[in-house]
């Protein structure tokens, strides 16, 4: 999409002055925006990078040779994979219902999808405890089966799913609405089943939005700390995620390790998001959009 403004004539007249004023205004806007981003985001990120790398590569290899650290990362990624899988597959169903279906109460459903964004992490943990902890609604059932939910992996997975619900759905719904059903309807009249249509037509069309939503979901999952803190019980080397390890590292006077782990988490998420952006641009360029 190229700029289709008429180029001002180089004659130094009012059009020229307006153009240079326009350029000045644009530069000012860019300046303000950049300053805002600098103060708010770049500085803190720079701080994490600085503190993380300050102790040198030796500290980094040392950190990752700790069994607790390795297990924490392992736990974080297992939880993340499950949360992303669940919220993607089931989120697709919800997205279809929101974008394509018509019924009363659709706004209510849509607001439900956004609700996890508004719930404080501590409250999410409280929800899990009220449901599955001693005296909870489902506690007798699970205890009778010998299954431990709170202060064990399952509750950590469940709270992570809760906080990841909105991301895929919010990315896909506008895409589905924008795409419309023309291609799909064409496929149906040609005899394709709903499922074939979904996999061959719809999915490729929403591919990049879907990946982006999954990446956001993944980033959110690995960064979750408040809710997991409440339900994990903080068993070192057992129910400690990477973020909980960071908390403990700061607590136990090993802040370098905390910063290094934080940097790794941030780097993973950033690379994931940037990677998807890059592939998307390449994909769109190839598709000739």
């Amino acid at each position: 999409m190229s700029e289709a403004h008429a180029q001002p004539l180089a004659s130094g007249g009012p059009a020229d002055r307006a153009a240079s004023r326009g350029r000045g205004v644009r530069a000012l806007l860019v300046g303000i925006a950049l300053l805002y981003v600098l103060v708010l985001i770049v500085a803190p990120l720079g701080g994490i990078i600085f503190y993380g790398l300050r102790s040198g590569l030796g500290a980094i290899t040392d950190t990752f040779s700790q069994q607790d650290v390795v297990h924490a990362f392992y736990l974080t990624f297992v939880i993340m994979l499950i949360a992303v899988a669940v919220t993607t597959v089931l989120g697709l169903a919800v997205a279809f219902v929101l974008a394509r279906d018509r019924f009363r109460g659709k706004s209510f459903l849509s607001a439900l999808v956004n609700l996890p964004l508004a719930v404080s992490p501590v409250v999410v943990g409280l929800m899990a405890i009220l449901l599955f902890g001693r005296g909870g609604w489902f506690e007798p059932f699970f205890t009778a089966q010998g299954i431990r939910i709170v202060f064990a992996l399952p509750s950590m997975i469940l709270v992570t799913i809760f906080i990841s619900i909105p991301f895929v759905i919010r990315e896909i719904v506008p895409l589905l609405e924008e795409l419309g059903t023309e291609e799909e309807q064409a496929a149906w009249t040609l005899g394709a089943s709903r499922l074939q249509t979904f996999f061959r037509i719809t999915l490729p069309n929403i591919r990049w939005g879907l990946f982006y939503g999954m990446a956001l979901s993944a980033a959110r999952s690995i960064g979750e700390v408040g809710a997991v803190l409440v339900v994990s019980g903080l068993l070192q080397g057992q129910t400690e995620t990477a973020t909980l390890y960071i908390l403990r590292a700061f607590d136990q006077y090993q802040p370098e390790r905390g910063y290094i782990v934080a940097l790794m988490l941030a780097a993973f998420s950033i690379l994931l998001l940037i990677g998807i952006e890059m592939f998307k641009r390449r994909g769109l360029k190839r598709a000739g959009e």
């Binding site: 068993l235 403990r248 607590d251």
Partner: protein, 360 residues
């Protein structure tokens, strides 16, 4: 078309499966004998879970490791596995109440153990056990900048205008309660100049003066001291052994002991119900007994910088912590029950009133 119906039903089934699967995962993390207290056959490699307050992670790391080695020798190579969790004392108590399967609970103050006891999870008379179940001891002191630039010597010095004090949030930290009780007790015992002995109003006035100067309430004692070490505030009210550990770790701060302060006593007990359910009760009891042995006490002293459990010895100070003129226990000022429910933290208590006046 029928195929799609089948597949979409499979989708629903998958959802149900996921929910159940995440439930099944639970049995993995607590690899112990089953949760129901039927017949008790301990597993080959018994797992003991310790929930402790945030400070003594180094000490318990060493103690569990030593105990495990000794046990292995004495019991035909039986390998014990210790799972440890460190966090705020009151939070740990609540977690245990909510279902955290701790076999041993190391709290930073007796009332937290009371909370667990009230729920029926602790059934033995822990206060009659050896040393009243107290395994670590210390005193509330002030952490100040090198050279003590603000010249803080006693509790009344904390009320000077413009001073910035760090102390944690009593609703989340046990340490915070010790700090408050220390100030209250010192005033009540007449050891603070300007505050009459035995006067609850004066004690309240002291607390108000102190809390006027509190600008940050961190969620744990650890956080509070770290905040101070990061350069914020002029003085932190803290456990002496926590500050001593920091100093030993290279932090630049000094410990100032007020003439009169409270004797911190932190009990560690077996959580009977959980230990019984996991068939590790005898092992847990032996572990707690071990904590009172001279060897273990030596570890506490050298690694955690705590004082001897005996108050007379403790008042003399150690290499890491200064002597105290007037070291008193919570029993000397009425006992925890009265302090929590009435005189200090009760609705009309000295701290409650003082805090509202300071921050209202």
């Amino acid at each position: 078309m029928r195929r799609s119906r089948v597949i979409l039903t499979a989708l629903l089934a998958a959802l149900v499966a996921v929910v159940t699967f995440t439930g099944c995962g639970g049995s993995d993390t607590a690899s112990n004998a089953s949760a129901n207290s039927g017949s008790c056959t301990p597993s080959d490699s018994p797992v003991l879970t310790l929930a402790a307050y945030s400070n003594p992670y180094d000490a318990y790391g060493k103690l569990t490791s030593t105990f495990g080695a000794v046990w292995k020798e004495a019991h035909n190579g039986q390998q014990l596995i210790f799972q440890m969790s460190f966090g705020g004392s009151t939070t740990q108590a609540e977690n245990i109440i909510n279902g955290f399967q701790a076999d041993v609970y190391a709290s930073s103050l007796a009332p937290d153990i009371g909370l667990v006891e009230e729920e029926g999870l602790i059934t033995h008379d822990w206060q009659s056990e050896q040393n009243g179940s107290i395994v670590q001891a210390g005193a509330v002191v002030f952490a100040v900048r090198p050279g003590n630039p603000k010249n803080i010597q006693n509790w009344n010095d904390l009320t000077q205008p413009g001073l910035q004090i760090l102390t944690p949030d009593p609703s989340q930290s046990g340490g915070a309660k010790w700090n408050i009780v220390a100030a209250y007790g010192a005033a009540m015992r007449g050891e603070v100049p300007g505050y009459a002995k035995g006067s609850a109003e004066d004690a309240q006035r002291l607390l108000e003066g102190i809390f006027k100067n509190v600008t940050v309430l961190d969620k744990s004692a650890n956080d509070s001291l770290k905040n101070f070490e990061a350069g914020n505030g002029d003085v932190a009210i803290t456990y002496d052994y926590q500050a001593a550990t920091s100093i030993a770790g290279g932090q630049e701060e000094e410990i100032v002991a007020p003439p009169s302060t409270v004797f911190i006593q932190t009990p560690t007990v077996v959580v009977d119900k959980n230990a019984q359910d996991h068939c590790v009760e005898p092992i847990a009891q032996k572990f707690v007994e071990y904590l009172h042995t001279p060897d273990a006490q030596e570890v506490f002293a050298s690694v955690a910088h705590t004082r001897p459990v005996d108050i007379t010895e403790a008042a003399k100070g150690t290499e890491s912590v200064p002597p105290i003129d007037d070291l008193f226990t919570t029993d000397d000022i009425g006992g925890w029950d009265a302090l929590i429910n009435d005189t200090v933290f009760g609705p009309e208590g000295a701290f409650t009133q003082a805090f509202q006046a300071a921050k209202g």
